[in-house]
């Protein structure tokens, strides 16, 4: 509050066996809360005059302009209106995503599936998660029982 920490607490356990206490230094996945530091990182570059929110990304990364992405800006991406939302045109494999060069090549080659300006959270993709588990449970209880 006003720059002063007034409360800093943690409780519970790190593990489901409840053997390792969870304290204020424990870290875990924060999922989309990572957008906060992501955006601030971009703000640092904008503040230094190294990037502008309304400059097309192709000015910094020419290959990005492929398949109609020439006018898309970093501002579009951050404010959830680039048209990318949750999807790639093609599904990448993990090896592609693990290598900076291959990943960039793949990213540049992708068409965004929705028109620029479409408001849509950058939020989901194929995969399986706790929501998947719900489907699994539906499947399980409707086919096994």
């Amino acid at each position: 509050m006003n720059g002063e920490t007034v409360l800093d607490i943690a409780g519970g356990y790190q593990d489901k066996e409840k053997t390792i206490p969870y304290d204020v230094t424990t870290m875990n996945l924060v999922f989309s809360s990572g957008k906060i530091p992501e955006t601030i990182g971009i703000a640092l570059l904008v503040d230094k005059g190294l990037m502008e929110l309304d400059t097309p990304i192709k000015e910094y990364w020419p290959e990005f302009a492929q398949k109609g992405k020439g006018e898309i800006t970093m501002g579009d991406i951050l404010s959830h209106r680039s048209g990318a939302m949750d999807s790639f045109e093609k599904t990448p494999d993990a090896a592609t995503l693990q290598d900076d060069h291959k990943r960039d090549e793949f990213l540049a080659s992708q068409k965004f599936l929705f028109p620029r300006g479409t408001v849509g959270y950058r939020g989901a993709s194929s995969g399986k998660d706790e929501v998947f588990c719900m489907r699994a449970y539906i499947y399980y209880f409707t086919t096994v029982y």
């Binding site: 593990d15 999807s87 993990a94 950058r122 989901a124």
Partner: protein, 294 residues
């Protein structure tokens, strides 16, 4: 309470691997990292930039994949999935019987999903709207030995700042607090990133009206007007809040409460059916309410 995690599910229910594509929370955050590596004079990754220029300055850490098994032995906690009982009794039926649940339990019950969450999950799980972005393809499914999420090694094998990085409430809170109080960038840059882009616009992915800032933060509103997080966090009248959260409940927000700058950060390691964890949201909302009263 027994935790029932996805990994166990796959062991118990191997046939579910063959189901049609399901969904995982994932943000195509790769683009920001790719641009940062080209723009930063030191050619740092987004993670390096953020760690060195943000988290280091407040004495905190952020960690992005790849994550080895050794890393888990330290101060990193795995995220635990929604308990089976909560899933079966508290969530799935609401996709069909949301009004019944509300009438029995009351709208404020922690298990009762908001309209936005019901819409989101119905599109996500039941695919009721074939035009929804939620039915489009994306990352490979984890069970093909490729990408995945949560605690799986394949999901945690490549860095996505806004999807699969690890930190804590203290770190995110300090960083966001410094940013919002103008300690990180100039006032002009701060204003640029906080400027609203549209008002109460319909988000095609979230199936909800959201007000985003130019930097992508959610901008709050009182009651049902422009809720910060899908109608869960009801911004108290008199406060102005900005922030965002992650599925399952992590939440970081900054509120102007009268003349006071208040930053609140909450990180759980147990997922919830709620898009934003009911418990965390209640805590943060009540904290703001108490400050308003005082």
């Amino acid at each position: 309470m027994k935790f029932f995690v996805c990994e166990h599910t796959f062991i118990i229910l191997p046939r579910c691997i063959d189901l049609s594509p399901c969904r995982c929370p994932y943000i195509p955050a790769f683009y920001t990292d790719a641009v940062v590596r080209r723009v930063d004079p030191l050619k740092r990754s987004l993670l390096q930039l953020v760690q060195e220029e943000l988290f280091d300055t407040v004495g905190q850490s952020i960690f992005c994949p790849p994550i080895s098994s050794h890393d888990w032995e330290g101060r990193m906690s795995k995220v635990h999935d929604i308990p089976l009982s909560k899933m079966m009794l508290g969530l799935l039926p609401q996709l069909y019987l949301s009004n019944f649940y509300r009438s029995v339990l009351g709208e404020d019950h922690p298990l009762v999903l908001s309209d936005s969450e019901v819409n989101l999950y119905r599109n996500w799980i039941l695919k009721v709207d074939p035009n929804s972005p939620l039915v489009k393809p994306g990352l490979p499914d984890m069970d093909q030995g490729e990408a995945s999420w949560n605690n799986r090694s394949s999901w945690l094998s490549y860095p996505m700042m806004s999807a699969n990085c690890l930190t804590n409430a203290r770190g995110t809170g300090h960083v966001f607090d410094a940013f919002m109080r103008g300690k990180v960038v100039s006032d002009d840059t701060l204003a640029l990133f906080l400027k609203p882009v549209g008002t109460h616009e319909f988000d095609n992915f979230l199936s909800n009206n959201v007000t985003y800032s130019a930097g992508g933060f959610g901008i709050g509103g009182a009651g049902k007007e422009g809720p910060l997080f899908l109608g869960i966090f009801k911004q108290p009248v008199g406060a102005e809040c900005t922030g965002w959260g992650g599925i399952g409940g992590s939440t970081i927000m900054h509120c102007l409460v009268g003349a006071h700058n208040v930053t609140l950060s909450y990180v759980p390691n147990l997922l919830s059916p709620r898009v934003a964890l009911d418990r965390g949201m209640k805590l943060l909302s009540e904290a703001v309410g108490i400050l308003l009263e005082e």
